[in-house]
Symmetry: C2
Subunit: 252 residues, 2 copies
C-alpha cells in the first residue's frame, strides 16, 4: 500500500520509499524522492555529520548560537521557540522525525530560536557549509532543499492565519488536525497518538493559556470529538474536527 505524503511534508514521496531509504538519517528524505542515484546518495552520506542524541528537555541549539549545522530529526520530537527582550517565550513550532531544524539561522549565521527535545531524541548534524557545496553540484538536491525551506515559510504562514484570525476552539482543532495529518504521513495512526508537549506548551504555541487548553479538551471530550487520557489522545470525529478547523462548522 503506497500512500502519497501530503505536499507539506515531502512532496511526492511515499512512506515505503522513505522507510526503505532511511539508511543514515532523515536527511535522505530530502533527496531520495527526487531520484538521486546511488552515487549521489553516497556523497550525501559523506557530508552528514555525526548523529547526536538529545535527552528529553535538553537544548539542541539556543538563540544566538553561531550557525554551523542544520539538524535532521531522526527520532523524537522537538519544540522551537523565540524569546523577546522581556523574556516572554513563544513556541514557533513542534517538529517530529523527518523534519529539518535550523533553517532560520542561515540568514544571519546565528540561530533565531532555541530548540529543545520534548522526549529523548536523535538528530543528524548536517554541516551547512558542506551541504551548500553539495547543493551547487546536485541540482536535484538543491531543488528539494528549496522546497523544504519554502515549506517552512508556508507552515509559518498557516500559523499566522491561526493566531491572527481564529478563535480558541478553531485554533485547537487546527492543532489536532495538523498533528494527525503529520502522524498519518509518517505511517502512524492519524487518530490515536501521544501529545508529546504539555498543555502549557500547546497553549503557548496557540496563543492561549493552559486553562483554556484544558477547558477546550474537556469541551471536545464532552462533545464526543476526542477521547483523552493524560497525553494520549484519540480523535473520534476527524471530519467534524476538520470542519471546525476550516471554520465551516462552529462546533458540535
Amino acid at each position: 500500500m503506497i500512500r502519497e505524503l501530503p505536499a507539506l511534508l515531502i512532496p511526492g514521496a511515499t512512506i515505503e520509499v522513505l522507510k526503505a531509504s532511511c539508511a543514515s538519517c532523515s536527511m535522505h528524505q530530502l533527496c531520495l524522492p527526487m531520484g538521486l542515484d546511488n552515487n549521489d546518495m553516497e556523497r550525501l552520506d559523506e557530508i552528514i555529520g555525526r548523529r547526536r542524541k538529545v535527552a528529553r528537555g535538553a537544548t539542541l541549539f539556543r538563540i544566538g548560537d553561531s550557525f554551523q549545522n542544520l539538524y535532521a530529526i531522526r527520532l523524537g520530537h522537538f519544540k522551537t521557540y523565540q524569546v523577546n527582550r522581556a523574556g516572554a517565550e513563544q513556541i514557533t513550532g513542534f517538529q517530529m522525525a523527518g523534519e529539518l531544524l535550523g533553517m532560520d539561522a542561515i540568514s544571519a549565521d546565528q540561530h533565531h530560536c532555541s530548540a529543545i527535545a520534548l522526549e529523548d531524541s536523535e538528530v543528524c548534524e548536517i554541516p551547512f557549509g558542506t551541504l551548500q557545496q553539495l547543493l551547487g553540484e546536485m541540482p536535484t538536491l538543491l531543488r528539494h532543499f528549496h522546497r523544504m525551506m519554502s515549506q517552512e515559510i508556508t507552515r509559518e504562514q498557516s500559523v499566522m492565519l491561526l493566531l491572527g484570525n481564529m478563535q480558541a476552539t478553531q485554533r485547537f482543532a487546527a492543532f489536532l488536525v495538523n498533528l494527525s495529518s503529520r502522524y498519518e504521513a509518517r505511517g502512524y495512526s492519524p487518530n490515536t497518538f501521544q501529545l508529546r508537549m504539555s498543555r502549557e506548551e500547546i497553549g503557548n504555541y496557540l496563543g492561549l493559556t493552559i486553562e483554556s487548553i484544558s477547558r477546550l479538551l474537556s469541551k471536545f471530550k464532552k462533545e464526543g470529538l476526542v477521547r483523552v487520557s493524560n497525553r494520549e489522545i484519540e480523535l473520534l470525529n476527524p471530519p467534524l474536527l476538520k470542519a471546525i478547523t476550516a471554520g465551516t462548522e462552529t462546533c458540535a
Copy 2:
C-alpha cells in the same frame, strides 16, 4: 556616509552600493553585496524577465496560481494574504521595494498566498527555473538566495511572537518600529513616512480590529508618541516606542 543595512534586509550591503547597483532591478540586491563580478552580473541581468507594472489594488498573483516567477519589487508596496476555507483573510506581510515575493510557492509549485499592490508599483519577474539553474553555477548567488529565504522564515517567526504573545499596544508599537527600520534601511526618514495600508489592513495584519487601530493611534497621539495626519505618520519618541515593543515599558 555609508551605513550598514540591518541584517534583516540585506546582510552586509550598504545603501550606496544598492543605489548604484540597481541597474535593472532590486534582484541585484541579492548578489551585489556578496561580490559578484561584472560577468556574473550580466548573467543575472539576462535571466531577469520583463518588468511589470502593477496598478494600485491589482493582483500580482493569487492563491493557487501555478508558480513560475519570483518577483523582486522595484518600486511600491504590496501586501500578501492568506485565505482560509471560510473566506477569512489574514495579511501575512507588507512588502516594499527591494523585497522578494513568491518564495512560499516553491514548495508545491503553486502560490500559497495572494499579493496585491498597495499603490502603483513595479516588479521584475524572475523565472524560477532559470534562476535555479544559475544558482547551481554561482555559489555566491546561491548563498544569498538562501539568506533571503531564511530571512523570510525569521520574519514570520517574529510575527508569530507578535500575534501569540503581545498585547494590542505592543503589537502596534512593534508594527511602527518595524516599518521605521525598514524605511531607514532604504535611506528614507525612519521617523516620518506614509502608511501605505489602510487601518483595516493594519488591523488584519496585527490580529486586531480597525477600531482598535484607530484607538491606538489616538492613544499614541495623546501620549505624544506620534503625530498623525491621515496616512502620514511621524514618530516623536522612537526610543519609547522601541521600549514598548520590547515589552520593557508598558506605555507612556
